[in-house]
């Protein structure tokens, strides 16, 4: 399953970044595919990007909402939120494990040999604050003199945008270098922080700071495709704790909003207690791998 996941990650990366003539055009893709939503965090100002980033598009719509409403256009984000919601309802945070280019980059960085550290569990709540404050409230209410908001998360924080769009555009269009300022320096520092942190800890950006992951995580309890714990087979051996790249204790919280359905836990479970469920129907029930589950404690 891990090999399949790697192939899917590579395929989605290529599909959402399929404009390879950018070194010739020295600009971004401007074709009709950009009306489609990238499931993962993939900056649409990246020269190779062929789809739009849901977070970027949502912030842009919210930032210009007053102007749109004044001109009689109801561009309030229905299409973008609808698309994100459909993706979330189908697979939730499975997107993070299977279809996010920035998640893939963090996974690759974590393979670099180095001392490895855990991430304090409570840091996971930062991403919800970022979602509410930087993606929704600031673009809506922090206005300039023309009554326009700014895509605050992209502008001040997003390390994916700095890596995928900031640096490539500075190389492709040297004239832009004259516009560099403190904001870009701050963004580069965030990027360096997450790159170094990704070598030392598993998926730090996904776990602490990704508002898109925070949004998809809200669907983890109701999503169509999910991992399911078989409480009869589970012996609470905690083997799943040690392998989870997101720090999820699957046997304690199978619907954890952090679960990215990467199947790492399913792979190590000697009792096959973790299976795939689609719409409530379990589809991968297998016999235990030679091991006999411990009897469950029956409560009086």
């Amino acid at each position: 399953m891990d090999l399949v996941r790697k192939w899917v990650q590579a395929l989605v990366f290529l599909l959402t970044n399929g404009f390879w003539s950018f070194p010739v055009t020295r600009g971004i893709y401007q074709g009709p595919l950009k009306v489609l939503c990238s499931p993962g965090l993939n900056c649409y100002s990246c020269p190779a990007a062929t789809t739009y980033c849901p977070l970027g598009a949502l912030q842009q719509l919210l930032a210009g909402i007053r102007m749109a409403l004044e001109s009689g256009q109801l561009f309030v984000g229905f299409y973008v939120v609808g698309t994100m919601g459909v993706i979330g309802s189908f697979v939730g945070r499975m997107v993070c494990g299977w279809a996010c280019p920035f998640g893939l980059l963090q996974e690759l960085l974590f393979k670099i040999p180095s001392p490895k550290f855990n991430i304090w569990r409570h840091l996971r709540y930062i991403k919800y604050v970022l979602l509410v404050v930087m993606v929704i409230l600031l673009p809506l209410f922090a206005l300039d003199e023309y009554g326009l908001g700014a895509p605050s998360f992209c502008k001040y924080f997003c390390p994916a945008g700095t890596l995928e769009a900031g640096f490539p555009m500075l190389i492709l269009q040297p004239g832009l270098r004259a516009n560099l300022g403190l904001i870009f320096v701050i963004k580069v520092l965030f990027l360096i922080l997450f790159i170094v942190w990704s070598v030392l800890a598993s998926r730090p950006f996904c776990r602490t700071s990704c508002p898109l992951g925070a949004f998809y995580g809200l669907f983890n309890k109701i999503k169509l495709v999910r991992l399911r714990l078989d409480p009869v087979r589970c012996t609470n051996c905690a083997a799943c704790h040690d392998v989870c790249p997101m720090g999820v204790r699957f046997n304690e919280a199978p619907d954890d909003m952090e679960c990215i359905s990467c199947f790492a836990c399913s792979k190590v479970c000697a009792y096959n207690a973790i299976n795939i469920e689609i719409g409530g129907v379990e589809i991968t029930k297998q016999p235990t791998r030679g091991a006999t589950p411990k009897p469950q404690k029956i409560l009086p």
Binding site: V35, P151, Q296
Partner: protein, 62 residues
């Protein structure tokens, strides 16, 4: 002993019982409707317009 056995069987039955969940289908329907409203309002054209321009502000330049 018999009571424990019955209780264990009930627990097993409950755990293995497969029931189609409606919640994901309801959520998918709601967001499809939301997306359709957006399409009817012409929002994809606005999204396309934004996505085909380099947003320097978005990438921290300018």
């Amino acid at each position: 002993m018999l009571e424990i056995g019955i209780r264990m069987k009930k627990q097993n039955d409950k755990a293995t019982k497969q029931k189609i969940k409606i919640a994901p289908f309801v959520a998918i329907f709601i967001f499809l409707v939301l997306g359709a409203i957006g399409i009817s309002l012409g929002e994809p054209a606005r999204v396309l317009q934004q996505a085909t321009q380099i947003c320097l502000e978005c990438i921290g330049i300018g």
